[in-house]
């Protein structure tokens, strides 16, 4: 170790130069960082439900439909109709927009005894003005299933302007442009934006806003904590500098490896700031503690001691992150696991090589001062916190144990109260426009979660079309399905207009010839494949309740099985079913990643401390802290979601370090001839201080996430801080008590 330490100091300028060059190089890469907020793209391709969903979205363009909701007291008012037309026309002329459909330009088929008229619901050049005209329009809209609850809400207070994007269009650019355009018209009605493209736009704007806003706050918060802990420039600047470099490297590598920023990887910078600064703090702390007059010797001695603890600390943290790579359902969580692991490794390397090189190269000799401050502060924390704590533990070890036992018991019971939530709507705060838009979609337009039922076969056969109709009827039997659309509906509509009744013609020739009229209609693309071998029912599901989804899926699956024939194949997919899978996967991935992490940690700690039982002791406090964490989630109603599912394993990886600290220190003192009490007192008074500082700085870093724009990240921040405090507390109270009791039993 000493050789390595010497090498670090001798090669200091080289190390600094390399770090500098790499930082500049990787920093430039970050400017190419792209945001991918498309939740669909994060779903795993190997899931058949997802594969079908993605394919359908691509083939039929369903993922490219955006909606503007226009809300007014009464849609059937001439001013409102005028505004809808203004909006429809303005959006239609924008770059990247393929088509716009609204009440002012939607196609309507009317028939009389001579024939039929393919026209529009509203003559856009002669908008209805008189009360009579408006009433006629209203009656027409509510008499047709094509319009009622699809284009205009049943209570006539909201209408949709639906648009599709062109093939090559950049979703976020067009999404933002649509919002800007709509707002610039300064209409009197309230506007909301829904649909996948608008959701993606909203999320990516939140992601970039979070990145720009939160990181500086986090730096500031940690700087303040560090200042109060070290009261030296070195103690503040160096941890922040290494953390910043680690963040730059990690993000730069992400870009080079072709990864994009997602709503989960979004919190990598803050996470690395919290973790990365801690390793450098360790190193500086150790250098401060070494009572050696010669600067170089002091660094050397500190470095050769700190090498192993920091390596181990980072190793356990990496294990926590890696546990996601194997068990996550969403690819963005795997990405998160990979790059937080990479970032943690970089942080450790920088703390061990770069930080000492800088200290030595620039002769940061605030050492004496620091020691002085150090001892002052030690007495402060020691007098008011650690000493009372030590006394309590020694006098009432069983008390402490009882309190923890009760806490664990209570928490274990509450674990069953934990809710799971994968609903994308709940990513947004209550008053976020995207969430309001979702609420209106659910309330007034039968939901926003698309369901697709694909029929593979001859789309022009009466048999397939009739089965389609029956399937639509069956769908509507659910209390959460209000509208369905398909080619079969269009055929029925045409057939009626041709005077043959509201039904699918029995004669295939009739259907084929109707195609002559349908062909070229842009709406056809949403329902039928180009070569007529696949048709689609598009519907929406209005409940976010998981049990409802499960029941609906079961019933529909049964119906589909009963109605599949040799002539065609029916498959069902949709967001509700994918939500179901995500929901199930939350639990399995939570349990499995936790198990992987725990087993790996017991093994690693066992090897480090050269005793398997000690490995168990060391993991006990952090497991207790995690049980309490779950208990808090159960009691407060903070749900398990795609982000909070990460907390337990990360907390395990970081929190175990506190226990390792305590056990190593205790063993060291105990073996050096001190009594049990002396050794423990030593441990609590000295290691306690650094654990305390670490808990405070890391928790403070995570707490910054409370200011995040996204609800899951807020919860993540709170829960991470909570588990840091919990595991720190457990390492300083529960673990010593276990050690006391274990040794007493052995002695007696």
């Amino acid at each position: 170790m000493e050789k390595l330490a010497k090498a670090v100091l001798n090669l200091r300028w080289f190390i600094i130069a390399v770090v500098f060059i790499l930082t500049v190089f990787l920093g430039f890469q970050i400017s190419n960082m792209e945001i991918n907020s498309d939740v669909v793209s994060a779903l795993p391709d190997d899931d058949p439900d997802v594969a079908l969903f993605k394919k359908v979205g691509q083939d039929f363009g369903g993922n490219k439909i955006g909606m503007i909701i226009l809300e007014a007291d009464d849609i059937f008012h001439n001013d409102v109709i005028y505004d809808v037309k203004k909006l429809t026309d303005s959006i239609g002329l924008m770059e990247g927009i393929a088509s716009v459909t609204s009440i002012t330009n939607i196609i309507d088929i009317r028939s009389d005894q001579f024939g039929f008229e393919i026209g529009k619901l509203i003559d856009e050049y002669n908008l209805p003005y008189s009360d009579e005209d408006l009433l006629r329009l209203k009656n027409r809209v509510f008499s047709k299933e094509m319009f009622r609850g699809v284009v205009v809400s049943e209570d006539a207070t909201a209408t949709l302007i639906m648009f599709t994007l062109t093939d090559g269009a950049d979703i976020q650019t067009v999404g933002r442009a649509v919002i800007d355009k709509a707002e610039s018209l300064q209409l009197d009605e309230r506007l909301y934006y829904a649909g996948m493209p608008m959701m993606v736009t909203a999320i990516s704007e939140l992601i970039s806003r979070d990145l720009i806003r939160l990181l500086p706050i986090a730096f500031l918060v940690i700087a303040i904590v560090l200042f109060f802990s070290f009261r030296s420039v070195r103690g503040v600047l160096l941890p922040l500098l290494t953390a910043a470099i680690a963040i730059i490297w990690t993000l730069g590598i992400m870009v080079l490896a072709g990864y994009k920023m997602t709503m989960v990887t979004n919190n990598i910078p803050i996470l690395l700031l919290a973790i990365g600064s801690a390793y450098t703090i360790h190193v500086i702390n150790k250098i401060n503690q070494v009572k050696e007059k010669d600067f170089k010797k002091a660094i050397l001695s500190a470095l050769s001691y700190i090498f192993i603890p920091v390596t181990l600390a980072s190793l356990t943290t990496i294990v926590g992150f890696i546990s996601f790579i194997f068990e996550a359902y969403l690819t963005m969580i795997k990405d998160f696991g990979i790059f937080t692991a990479v970032g943690t490794f970089i942080s450790a390397v920088l703390a061990l090589f770069f930080a000492p090189a800088v200290i030595y190269a620039f002769s940061f000799k605030s050492k004496r001062n620091a020691i002085q401050e150090n001892s002052n502060r030690k007495s402060l924390i020691a007098t008011y916190l650690l000493l009372p704590l030590k006394n309590l533990l020694f006098r009432h070890p069983k008390y402490t144990l009882t309190i923890w036992s009760l806490l664990i018991l209570l928490s274990s019971a509450s674990i069953f109260l934990i809710q799971r939530n994968v609903d994308i709507k709940d990513y947004f705060k209550q008053d976020n426009p995207a969430r309001l838009a979702e609420d209106i979609m659910i309330e007034k337009f039968g939901g926003s979660k698309p369901i697709f039922i694909s029929f593979k076969g001859d789309v022009q056969s009466p048999e397939l079309l009739n089965t389609m109709l029956r399937t639509e009827e069956r769908l509507k039997e659910s209390s959460y399905v209000f509208t369905t659309q398909s080619i079969a509906d269009l055929i029925v509509e045409m057939n009626d207009a041709l005077g043959e009744g509201r039904q699918i013609p029995d004669d295939r020739d009739k259907i084929e010839q109707m195609w002559f009229l349908l062909e070229g209609n842009s709406i056809l693309k949403q329902f039928v494949s180009d070569n007529l071998d696949e048709g689609l029912i598009i519907s929406k599901f209005a409940s976010s309740d998981n049990a409802e989804k499960e029941e609906f899926a079961r019933e529909m699956e049964q119906f589909i099985n009963e109605n599949t024939s040799d002539a065609f194949e029916i498959n069902m997919t949709g967001m509700p079913f994918i939500d179901m899978k995500m929901n199930r996967s939350l639990l399995t991935s939570q349990i499995r990643s936790l198990l992987i992490a725990i087993l790996a940690l017991i093994l690693i700690v066992g090897i480090i401390l050269r005793s398997f039982p000690t490995g168990l002791y060391a993991t006990a406090p952090i497991i207790a802290a995690i049980v309490v964490l779950f208990g808090v989630m159960g009691i407060t109603g903070i749900p398990l979601n795609i982000v909070t599912v990460l907390v337990a394993s990360i907390a395990l990886g970081i929190g175990i370090d506190y226990s390792i600290h305590v056990i190593s220190h205790f063993n060291h003192s105990y073996k050096n001839g001190k009594t049990l009490d002396e050794a423990l007192e030593d441990t609590i008074m000295i290691s306690g201080k650094s654990i305390f500082i670490n808990v405070v700085s890391v928790s403070a870093g995570f707490m910054v996430l409370i200011f995040s724009e996204m609800v899951p990240l807020q919860y993540f921040g709170i829960l991470m801080a909570l588990s840091m405090i919990g595991s720190g507390l457990a390492a300083l109270t529960l673990l010593p008590v276990i050690l006391i009791l274990a040794h007493r039993r052995r002695l007696s």
Partner: protein, 251 residues
């Protein structure tokens, strides 16, 4: 005869618009010359092949026998694809259209209120297919004259039009349009038609027209074959009864 008609038109135009500047007048006469080339045959008949080509280059083909008299009477009898064989459309004055579908028997009257709507799957809109002369529907101005072409900008008089303007490139020698570029209301070019001509008898026949929708990346190619002009087709050919095969005697 053609020349004398042009002279008459020119004189009328000159008398009517003598207060307007010379450029505008030139443009107006050029557009009328174009109308003459397009609309002057008394009648024409031929075989039409319609290719619908999507962005991946996949083609769908339709074939029809076409009869046209003057500008107002037009009949299309589809022969391909097989599933649509026998379908026939009859266009009458004032935008009235009748459709015959063999599987349904009786012809139906269709009105297409939406002019901007695509004509049965092609990239032509009903507006593009209109038979009223351009000079009556558009106000032209001459943008450029070069060795081969006149370039006209024509602006629709009808404010319902989907177009803000069309840039027409005319052949300088024969006054037929070689290219038409269509601009939407945001003044962006979104469609482009290119023409190829052959001379048959006294007339220039648009042997091939390609209409490309630039935003949909979709193309329609229309090839007109075996064209015969001025065959003296009687008005009786353009009746509803004639839509069905065998003069409508069977269904």
């Amino acid at each position: 005869m053609k020349f004398s008609r042009i002279i008459v038109v020119l004189i009328i135009a000159y008398a009517g618009f003598s207060s307007v500047n010379v450029m505008a007048q030139d443009a107006q006469s050029l557009l009328k010359k174009m109308d003459n080339v397009i609309f002057s045959p008394k009648d024409k008949q031929g075989n039409v092949e319609i290719y619908l080509i999507n962005s991946q280059g996949n083609e769908k083909v339709r074939e029809a026998v076409m009869l046209q008299k003057g500008t107002d009477l037009k009949i299309y009898r589809y022969t391909k694809p097989e599933s649509q064989a026998g379908i026939a459309t009859l266009s009458l004055p004032d935008g009235v259209m009748w459709l015959y579908m063999p599987a349904f028997g009786k012809p139906k009257k269709i009105s297409m209120l939406a002019k901007s709507q695509a004509f049965t799957g092609t990239d032509f809109s009903y507006e593009d297919m209109a038979t009223t002369p351009y000079s009556e529907r558009y106000t032209p101005s001459l943008l450029e004259t070069n060795d081969q072409n006149y370039v006209l900008e024509i602006i629709p008089k009808d404010e319902d039009s989907k177009y803000s303007k069309i840039i027409v490139t005319l052949n300088k020698g024969n006054f037929y349009p070689e290219k038409m570029e269509y601009y939407d209301q945001a003044n962006r070019k979104f469609k482009e038609a290119t023409y190829e001509y052959e001379k048959i008898g006294n007339y220039w026949n648009a042997r091939q027209v390609i209409m490309a929708d630039l935003s949909k990346q979709h193309m329609t190619k229309i090839i007109l074959k075996d064209v015969k002009f001025d065959q003296g087709i009687p008005d009786e050919e353009f009746t509803i009864e004639k839509l069905a095969p065998n003069n409508g005697t069977s269904e």
